[in-house]
């Protein structure tokens, strides 16, 4: 039936993609933003749509655009490529209370 080709396609795509996992993303952020608290959710189970919640002092005094740019920069060209979607929630410790 129609499902077998879909599964094959998914497997092929999954195999070819450079893999990100929630654990890997957490490590990258914690490495680049020492002292931050990081939570990662795989939104689709396909390892390319993630939701990232970060609490960090480094966001203090920064607007949302700057905060998101800081996070995107940690992943280089992967955002928009291997990472199809990265949904961001950024807080300073005071905002997270």
């Amino acid at each position: 039936m129609g499902t077998s080709s879909g599964v094959e396609t998914a497997n092929r795509l999954g195999y070819e993609r450079a893999m990100f996992t929630p654990e890997k993303i957490k490590l990258i952020v914690e490495d680049k933003m020492p002292g931050s608290r990081v939570q990662v959710k795989d939104l689709t189970g396909t390892q390319d749509h993630f939701e990232l919640t970060i609490v960090s002092k480094e966001f203090e005094g920064k607007g949302l655009v700057d905060r998101h740019r800081m996070v995107y920069a940690m992943f280089g060209s992967a955002v928009g490529a291997e990472i199809h979607a990265l949904s961001l929630k950024t807080f300073t410790p005071a905002e997270y209370k």
Binding site: L64, V65, H68, R69, Y72, S77, V79, G80, A85, L86, S87, L88, K89
Partner: protein, 107 residues
Amino acid sequence: MSDSVHKQIEKEITENKIMVYMKGTPEMPQCGFSKAVVDVFEVLEAPFASRDVLSDPDLRDGIKTFTHWPTIPQVFINGKFIGGCDIIREMYFKGELEPLVKAALGK
């Protein structure tokens, strides 16, 4: 090449109070994040102009180099880059977007 795309973007964000670069059209968004942005402006009853980056590969790359922002959708109000889907939603829920939109539209 990207120079002329950037000029075109500059023109569009100047001529349109609210300009959205998205995947698909407001009637038929091709991505949940683009749809979320359209939903917010519809709830605010704010008319906006949009362009579909999926139908124009040069625009799809050009908008990213214009803002140094790697993802679509991208929203401009009064010629200023405001952010992507998460930022628009967050500003909406905090009540920050409506005054910005109203001021831009002169309401």
